[in-house]
């Protein structure tokens, strides 16, 4: 199986007539079994089509046209309009919202996330590339054009969660080359406040039978790794985790942010060194190099399997 989405997931693209959104729509339609992109929304563009997908002025029109609830939305509107677009999606019953847009002030993100929580919806991102279930479906620009995505992602037992969109593909490609496919790969976004953190996705992976191990990409800034470490310890997770920590050089440069907005080191707990220690305490192995990840996660999965078989039922 997979988490978050599968072949039957319906979704819309908000901001569908933008240049990047047109490409993204094509990519999603072409990939795997073909995504069910049931509509697009751009105010003032009712009646148009993007790669055969009907365009509406409002999310409500898209839902009415579909004739049934729509599960997801990929939001690719400019930062000043993102909050309104996400509110519109949530208030029209959308349950999974992937926000691609970058540079959204965190107050807006926090408002969106709180409304989503109240309504039982989930946000992935902002500043992310979305979700991919290898060979089945992708929601967002993750992996790029279908042909490129197929080169990097293969089906298998590893759940991938990454604060960097590009590194989601780099790590998955490395896993694939080593014969370790992915159950689902999620680009969660690089901002200081995001809709779904590692710890908030863990219960889904934990419940997914296909997933046998987790690989995460992480960087300095924020407390998300501490939250994951706590979750793993508190819930006695069945899933071994291997983490890769980029941006170790930033420890020498407090107050500066590199790569993503969320990487700024504001306190000692935000540093790479501190995070590595915290992850290690929770039994999460931290890889020095990406090419070491496949062997590390394979070994950890084998250890768990051995321990389970060896212990009395």
């Amino acid at each position: 199986m997979s988490i978050l989405i599968d072949a039957s997931t319906t979704f819309i693209v908000q901001g569908i007539t933008g240049r990047e959104a047109v490409n993204l729509t094509r990519e999603c339609l072409d990939y795997g079994e073909g995504a069910k992109v049931v509509g697009g929304v751009t105010p003032g563009r009712l009646g148009r089509e993007v790669h055969g997908v009907p365009v509406f002025d409002t999310v409500a029109q898209a839902v009415a046209h579909h004739g049934a609830p729509i599960y997801g939305s990929v939001v690719t509107v400019p930062p000043a309009f993102t909050k309104d677009a996400v509110f519109e999606a949530i208030e029209n019953g959308i349950k999974l919202i992937v926000i691609v847009t970058e540079r959204i002030p965190r107050r807006d993100v926090a408002e969106m996330v709180e409304l989503a929580t109240l309504r039982g919806a989930r946000i992935i991102g902002p500043n992310c590339l979305g979700v991919i279930v290898p060979d089945v479906v992708k929601m967002g620009g993750i992996g790029g054009p279908a042909r490129n995505a197929a080169q990097a992602y293969t089906p298998g037992p590893i759940g991938v969660i990454s604060r960097s969109g590009g590194m989601t593909t780099e790590m998955s490609s490395t896993l694939s080359a080593a014969g370790l496919g992915q159950s689902t790969a999620v680009s969660i976004g690089g901002d200081a406040i995001i809709g779904s953190s590692y710890a908030e996705l863990m219960p889904q992976f934990e419940a997914d039978e296909q997933t046998r191990g987790i690989v995460i990409y992480t960087e300095p800034g924020g407390r998300m790794e501490a939250e994951l470490a706590r979750w793993v310890t508190d819930n006695n997770s069945r899933l071994p985790i291997v983490a890769f920590m980029a941006g170790r050089f930033m420890d020498e440069m407090p107050g500066m942010s590199f790569g993503h907005a969320g990487t700024i080191v504001e306190g000692i707990q935000d540093t790479a060194t501190e995070k590595i220690a915290r992850l290690a305490q929770a039994g999460i192995a931290v890889a020095e190099r990406i090419e070491d990840i496949p062997e590390m996660i394979r070994t950890k999965i084998a250890e768990r399997a051995g321990a389970t078989e060896g212990s009395p039922a």
């Binding site: 990047e20 930062p79 000043a80 540079r103 002030p105 965190r106 107050r107 993100v109 926090a110 408002e111 996330v113 709180e114 409304l115 109240l118 620009g141 993750i142 992996g143 790029g144 054009p145 490129n148 995505a149 990097a152 990454s162 604060r163 960097s164 969109g165 590009g166 590194m167 593909t169 780099e170 490609s173 490395t174 080359a177 690089g190 200081a192 406040i193 953190s197 990409y217 960087e219 924020g222 407390r223 998300m224 980029a246 941006g247 170790r248 050089f249 930033m250 440069m253 107050g255 500066m256 590199f258 790569g259 993503h260 907005a261 990487t263 306190g267 020095e288 190099r289 990406i290 090419e291």
Partner: protein
């Protein structure tokens, strides 16, 4: 972006929180006038965006206006932590019965702002939290439900404060929380918040950061405070090389080829994207390489932009070679970056095969890109070569700098 104390105090004042009758100036003579107006002893405080002012001699107590002028002159000439002061603040030396702390920050895990209050102020709140945890109150508040006085009342009361102090503090903390939200701050602090002998409260220092992404919607406030659009107030001032990088990125709106940070090594880096740049920079250093710069490319920049960035790095004094490396690209086109960096070498009269230590960008349009690289004899690698291995190969090709003659 961090505000200077004099700016932060103005924001606090505008929010309806009592402040002292301070004055800001860049002129020692005017400091005397302000001290005269205030009457009585004053505090002269350096306006710098760095901590440790007191230790560095950037805060002095003056008994007379003449002394205020003298201290202002000293402080205006005093560099603190590599920064020259923007000016001085002349503040009445308040008789304080007790120092309190009030602040608001984001909690990224809970995804809500959190009010922090303590009756132990004047020192670092982290220190209080460690030594007297029962004296620090915290309370999250909703992003979408109305903010109301009772929330501030709860956090203040949780630290044992009651009586008229409680009732006077509630509106201050509520206004601070409102100010935080309405101005897209990422941090606001009043420390110390002074209790005066007459039982009233006054903000004696303020600390504030506004979110960079939200600056566009606070133009009026920033204009009023005299903060220019170009003022970024990074932890370190941008170097001319970094500013040139910004100009390259601004040449057109397509993609990113910038975010340049200067270092003093000999290996020029043309790397991307966000996470890829972090990974590659670490990898170069892990192999003993000395990066000349950090940068980011991504989002499918034009040939001109990739070329501009490569030229900038190639021309940086002390750069022997450049390494062009990215994590697997899906949006950015390999052939466009290849064209850009080769064009940069040729236009500078350099041999691409010699100057480009390695080109490791796999992904979209890689066949086309690799063909071009082959034509010019550039050493390239596909996805079977890891980021780490590519970095190692680049470092290996760099001649170690001969020792500098004394």
């Amino acid at each position: 972006m961090r505000f200077f104390e004099y700016e932060a105090r103005e924001v606090v004042k505008r929010a309806g929180i009592p402040v002292t009758d301070y004055g800001f100036t860049t002129d020692p003579a005017e400091a005397r006038e302000i001290a005269q107006r205030i009457g009585g002893p004053t505090v002269i405080k350096s306006q710098v965006l760095t901590g440790g002012r007191m230790k560095a001699g950037g805060v002095k107590f003056a008994d007379t206006p003449e002394q205020a002028e003298e201290y202002a002159r000293d402080i205006l000439a005093l560099e603190i932590g590599g920064h020259m002061p923007r000016g001085v603040l002349v503040d009445p030396k308040a008789e304080v019965a007790q120092e309190y702390y009030a602040g608001v920050v984001w909690d990224g895990t809970r995804k809500q702002p959190v009010m922090i209050f303590s009756p132990v102020g004047g020192i670092d709140i982290e220190q209080v939290a460690e030594e007297q945890p029962d004296k620090v109150g915290r309370r999250h508040f909703s992003n979408i439900l109305p903010l109301s006085d009772f929330q501030a009342k709860e956090v203040i009361a949780s630290t044992g404060v009651t009586g008229s102090a409680l009732n006077k503090l509630v509106p201050i903390v509520t206004r601070l929380a409102k100010l935080f939200v309405e101005n897209d701050m990422t941090l606001v602090e009043i420390n110390p918040l002074g209790l005066l002998p007459d039982g009233s409260f006054v903000a004696l220092d303020a600390h504030m950061d506004i979110e960079n992404e939200a600056r566009g919607r606070h133009k009026k406030l920033l204009t009023d405070l005299g903060v220019g659009d170009e003022e970024t107030r990074q932890a370190r001032e941008a170097t001319p090389f970094e500013l040139a990088g910004e100009r390259v990125d601004a040449t057109d709106h397509r993609g990113v080829a910038g975010n340049v940070t200067e270092f003093d090594g000999n290996l020029g880096l043309v790397i991307g994207a966000g996470g890829g740049s972090l990974t590659l920079f670490d990898a170069v250093r892990a192999h003993g390489g000395k990066p000349a710069n950090y940068c980011e490319i991504g989002g499918n920049p034009s040939v001109a932009k990739a070329c501009g960035l490569a030229k900038l790095v190639l021309q940086k004094p002390g750069v022997d070679k450049i390494a062009v490396m990215m994590s697997i690209v899906s949006n950015t086109r390999v052939d466009i970056v290849a064209r850009g960096v080769i064009k940069a070498c040729i236009e500078l009269g350099m041999d691409p095969a010699e100057k480009i230590a390695i080109f490791r960008i796999p992904g979209a349009w890689e066949e086309e890109g690799f063909k071009i690289l082959e034509k010019y004899g550039v050493d390239y690698a596909d996805r079977s070569v890891s980021l780490n291995e590519a970095a190692r190969r680049a470092v290996e090709k760099i001649e170690p700098h001969p020792p500098v003659a004394a």
